[in-house]
Amino acid sequence: MPRTLYDKLWDEHHVSKLDSGESLLYIDRHFIHEVTSPQAFEGLQKKNIKPWRLEANIATPDHNVPTERGDAFSTQHIDDEISRIQVVELDKNCNKFGIKQFDISSSHQGIVHVIGPELGYTIPGMTIVCGDSHTSTHGAFGCLAMGIGTSEVEHVLATQTLKISKLKNMNVVFNGSTMPGVTSKDIILYLIKKIGTAGGNGHAIEFSGNYIESISMEARMTICNMAIEAGAKVGLVAPDETTIEYVKRHTFLDEQNLNNAIDYWHNLKSDTDALFDKEIVIDVSKIKPQVTWGTSPEMAIDYDELIPSNDSKNLMLARDYMGIDNSQKLSDLQFDKVFIGSCTNSRIEDLRDAAKVVDGKKVSSSIKEAIVVPGSGTVKSIAESEGLDIIFKEAGFIWRDPGCSMCLGMNPDQLEPYERCASTSNRNFEGRQGNLGRTHLMSPAMAAYVAVNGTVGDLS
């Protein structure tokens, strides 16, 4: 029977069908950060269990870390006591159990979904989990990757398996080539607008089509990252030559292992006649840059479109929260802050995109603060070697140290009440970037445009 990529990954990792009807699925890689792991480690200790396979686990602190650290910064230097306790707890747990950690002082520390692929821990064909919904990012490598809750973090540490039921299959086919100024962020926001934030519930989404084949691994990661914003905890792209080239540049595998793996990856794709429960075909050539106006990622519009003014309760609540009057366009709004970063858009390609727009220009006087937060120490040093930091700094941006930063209000980078932010992150939920803050999601290029011009506009 023909199978989808998801079916194949599922079968490949299927340990056993349980009497309950659920399955035990073997987990190859487990990424850990400081926020969703302490209670899981505590659970292990209470049960007196050791992690099943230590090498499967890779940890780094990202959510709580301040992004103005400079040199010789250690966990003890975190000002916020509660944040510090959480990062210290990760240090302690990793030391106690012997789990490999890129700690706050490591030159490789960064957002867990950025460092996994770039340090070679994300290997095509793996099952990957993390107590973080944006684990779907790793699906860009043809991995069955998904976010899990803390109880499941404990379960994976203890048993190297997840006890779950199979998802349905959805195929999203993106064909065509994009207009100037349109990036993978616009494409995924467009999809979320079309199918809604519940559109992918219960499904693993495979992204395919000649547009997907044409784009880089960074761009594919942006798309898979936000599969969860379309309701799908799993996003997938079949490995191809682009994938293999990326992995070759980032791997620690020896030649024999790598060559054997590559042979396997060549077959890791959906059969041509595989059946999907749902299929959506989208022509990307007509998609304009997308920007969200409301408090759900599905509330996205073309950057030059009128903000919806209908009277549904959900839309009224969103307009009210966002401080939007009737008959306004996004370009009527004045922005206060610009945030370029997050596990969606903090990779080197994202910073290059933004730097191109900024080069030789100045941050608008109406913008209170514009920050660039590289996704990892590795990204930061590559960007600096290309002089991107200079471009940003000369324009008036602040160049920060790696972390989740202003994607979520958990570290010092937060919006003040009612501040309006052009953000390259993934969630525009109420209060996401700080109490009463107003978030507009967009691509790095558009966020850079806002920094320079004070509001959104034509990138072409």
């Binding site: 209670q39 709580n64 048993t159 998802l167 759900s296």
Partner: protein, 212 residues
Amino acid sequence: MTNINSIKGIVASIDRDNIDTDQIIPTEYLKSIKKFGFGEYLFDGWRFHDQGKLGMSIDQRDLNHDFILNKETYANSSVLLTRDNFGCGSSREHAVWALRDFGIKAVIASSFGDIFYNNCFKNGVLPIVLNKDQIQDLFLQYENSGSDMAINLETKLIDTGNNQISFNVDDNLLERIIYGLDDVDITLKHKDLIKRFEEERMKAKPWIFAHD
């Protein structure tokens, strides 16, 4: 541990789609390293006018008296009624912990975020999916009424006093709530199976197990 066969209590309703886990428990409170103590911060952004911090208690806060859970009638609600895609977004299990700690034992919605739905069963909170018409009928009956309902976990029936509504939920997931089962203990009974699978995989795909 005694079995939980039924849930009975006041129904609080929030008439919104897509209530994400950031609304259920804002990120600030995820700094806790504990598994309990989140009830005071449930729906924090809607329940209070001020910005809270982990460790603050309710009497230090500026209450939004218009928010349903701040009204005396609903202060001890056991059931939450809402609309589409409840619990979408972040995987934080803290969202379920906050509902549980507040005293919510069941959430009724027309759909749920996948990760949230899973997390519920690990913490004794029952998510019930009904179709949109049934949800609308329940809103008509319960919005502002302050009345209660009884949910029978064995017969999978909701008794509203006016009528009975049946719901579907996977028996195995439901059993976790009824018996308060712990998945780790259950799975470790299959330790040998997992070991054997792992050894086979190590032989077939050694690169998965390589490390630097």
